[in-house]
Amino acid sequence: MLELYGHAVASRLLLGTARYPSPAILAEAVRASKTDIVTVSLRREMAGSRAGGAFFELIRTLSVKVLPNTAGCHTVAEAVLTAKMAREVFATDWIKLEVIGNHDTLQPDVFALVEAARILSGEGFKVFPYTTDDLVVAERLMEAGCRVLMPWCAPIGSAMGPVNLPALRSMRAHFPDVPLIVDAGIGRPSHAAIVMELGYDAVLLNTAVASAANPAAMAAAFTGAIEAGRIAFQAGMLEPRDMAVPSTPVIGKAVFS
C-alpha cells in the first residue's frame, strides 16, 4: 500500500475539488473515484471571517483526507502565508506547495518552491511540492525536507498528457524509494495509465474530471485506468521489439494440408 508521510492510502488517485459545476457534482465525483485524498485550494476571501465555511464544511463531509493547496501563489511569502492559513482552516500539516513562476504556463518557480519548501518543512509541514521533471530541483526539494515529489507531466490544465516520457522514466529511476505523484497535465485516462505503467505511485487530477461532461463517470474511468496501470507495472510488461514474434510456436507445429 502507498504511504505518504506515514499515512497509508488505498487509492492512487488524488482528486482536486475546483471548477466542478456544483458541490453536489463534486461530491458524486469524489465518491465515484473512491479517492482517499482531495486537494482544496485556499483563497484569501475564503479564509475570511466566515471562512468559506459552507464549501469547506461540504468537503469535510466527504470523509476523505484533505490536502490543502497553495494554488495561485506567486511568491515564497504568499505560499508560506497560505499554507499557514490552510493549517488553521483544515487542521492538517499536509500542504500541496505550488509557487507559480509564469502566469501563462503556470510553470512552477522552482527556486521559490525550494525556498518555500525549506521554510515550511522547518515549521513542521509535510510538503507535497508541485515541481517540474528536473532531477536537480527534485534533489533540492528532498534536501529541503520533502518526502514526496509531484512532477508535472505537462502544464496545469493543458490535458496534453505526458510530453516527456524519458524525463519521467529518469525521475522514477533516480528516486526509486520516494513516492512520486504526477501532478498536472493529465487529460484522459490513457495518460494516467501511461504514467502508472512507468511506475509512478499515484496521479493527481482536477480539470480532466471537473470539466468533463460527466465528472462522476470520468472519475470512475480514471480510477480504472490508474489501477490498470499500477497492476501492469507490477505484473511486468513486455518491451517493444522490431520484429514479429508469434504467440504460438511454429516449430514442431502439425501441418494439415
Binding site: P21, M46, R50, L58
Partner: protein, 351 residues
C-alpha cells in the same frame, strides 16, 4: 389571504407579482433601505439559459427558457432580445468547440457575420457562437420598475424593516432573503461574485458577449449610455467585502482582451455580492416548518425567479377557479404533511 414576503430582491418581488396576480394581499418587508439590495443588485441580467447549460444541470434550461417572455410581459420594454455572442481569444478557439458541444441553440459565425452583428468587434475574432434566443435586461432598472408596478397594484412595502418583522395576522410568510438566510436554511451557502462597471463611448455592443478562457471566463453586458457591466467572479465564500485586486485585474484583463478601447474606459463602480446557493446550485421552494423558503438562485436569479415564483404562488394560493374568480385556499402543509419538505425541481414546474 394575506402573505408576508421577507426580502425585496428578485425572488421576493417576482413572487409578490405572482401572488398578487392570484388575488393574494401581499406585503413585503425588506431590511435594506431600497429594493434589490442583495445579489440582485450585482446581477448581469443575462437571460441566457442555453449558455448556462454548458455547466448547469438540465432544469436551468427547462425553467429558464421562458424567463424573457415573463419579464417582457410584466415590464414591457425592458427585455432586449439580441441573443448572446460567445467569443474566444484566437489561441483558445478550442474552447468554442467545447462550449458548442456542451450546449444547444447556437449558430457558428464567421468573421464577416461577427462584424455584421457587432461592428466594433470586426476583425477581432474569426469565429464566434450566437445563442439566438437569449435576451438580457438591466437588473437595477428592472427591479426598480417591478417595485413601482407592485406598489401601483397595492403591494405594501416596508423598507428598512427590522429583521424580526412581526408575522402575526399573515396566512403565510415566505422567506426570500437570499444570502441573509445562510446559517438558517440548511445547506445554503454563499458564492461570492465580483463585478465592475465601465463607461466608454468608444465601444458599442448590442448584446452580452461572453469571453471564453480556460481559467477566467467572463462576460460583458451592455447597459446603454456607453456603460458596460463586467462580471463576474465565482468564489466559494460568503464574504461580501470589496473586490480584490486580483479579481479586478482579471475582470479588466477580460474587458481589454475583448476590446482594447476598454483600456481607456472609466471604472465608475466596483461591486461584490454573495449569491445564495444549495449544493446542486439549483433554487428550491422549501416548506420548513411554518417557514416557506424560496432561495438558492445562485447565479440564476433573473433567469429562474419567474418560473420558481409562479410555481411557488400556485402552491401557496391554490388553484384559481377561473370561471367564478373564487380561490380554493390550500395550506402548503396540507400538501406536504411532513411540514418539512423540499419541492424538487421539475421541468415546466408550475405551468
Amino acid at each position: 389571504m394575506r402573505v408576508l414576503i421577507k426580502g425585496a430582491g428578485v425572488a421576493g418581488l417576482t413572487l409578490a407579482h405572482e401572488l398578487t396576480a392570484r388575488g393574494a394581499a401581499v406585503e413585503v418587508a425588506e431590511t435594506a433601505q431600497h429594493v434589490g439590495g442583495g445579489a440582485s443588485w450585482f446581477a448581469g441580467g443575462m437571460l441566457a439559459p442555453w449558455c448556462e447549460s454548458e455547466s448547469a444541470p438540465a432544469p436551468v434550461l427547462a425553467l429558464g427558457r421562458e424567463a424573457a417572455d415573463w419579464w417582457d410581459a410584466v415590464l414591457p420594454g425592458h427585455v432586449i432580445r439580441n441573443g448572446t455572442l460567445v467569443v474566444a481569444p484566437t489561441r483558445d478557439t478550442g474552447e468554442l468547440a467545447r462550449f458548442a458541444a456542451r450546449t444547444s441553440g447556437c449558430d457558428w459565425l464567421d468573421a464577416d457575420q461577427i462584424a455584421a452583428l457587432e461592428p466594433d468587434l470586426a476583425g477581432r475574432f474569426r469565429k464566434a457562437l450566437l445563442f439566438r434566443d437569449e435576451a438580457h435586461l438591466d437588473p437595477r432598472r428592472a427591479i426598480t420598475a417591478l417595485h413601482a408596478t407592485l406598489q401601483a397594484s397595492g403591494v405594501r412595502f416596508y423598507l428598512g424593516a427590522v429583521p424580526d418583522f412581526p408575522e402575526a395576522g399573515f396566512d403565510h410568510v415566505v422567506d426570500c432573503t437570499g444570502a441573509h438566510a445562510i446559517g438558517q436554511a440548511a445547506d445554503l451557502r454563499g458564492v461570492r461574485g465580483e463585478m465592475l462597471m465601465l463607461e466608454t463611448p468608444d465601444v458599442s455592443l448590442s448584446r452580452p458577449v461572453r469571453l471564453l478562457h480556460p481559467r477566467i471566463p467572463l462576460y460583458v453586458v451592455p447597459r446603454g449610455d456607453s456603460r458596460f457591466m463586467i462580471g463576474a467572479t465565482m468564489i466559494e465564500s460568503d464574504d461580501a467585502g470589496p473586490v480584490s485586486a486580483r479579481s479586478l485585474m482579471e475582470l479588466l484583463n477580460a474587458a481589454y482582451a475583448l476590446h482594447p478601447a476598454f483600456g481607456e474606459a472609466r471604472v465608475f463602480e466596483t461591486g461584490a455580492g454573495v449569491r445564495p446557493a444549495y449544493p446542486d446550485n439549483l433554487p428550491r421552494l422549501a416548506f420548513d416548518g411554518d417557514t416557506i423558503r424560496l432561495n438558492g438562485f445562485y447565479r440564476h436569479g433573473f433567469l429562474l425567479a419567474p418560473s420558481m415564483a409562479k410555481s411557488a404562488a400556485i402552491r401557496i394560493v391554490g388553484r384559481m377557479q377561473a370561471d367564478n374568480g373564487q380561490q380554493s385556499l390550500v395550506h402548503p402543509r396540507s400538501l406536504h404533511p411532513s411540514g418539512h419538505k423540499i419541492i424538487p425541481l421539475q421541468s415546466g414546474a408550475g405551468r
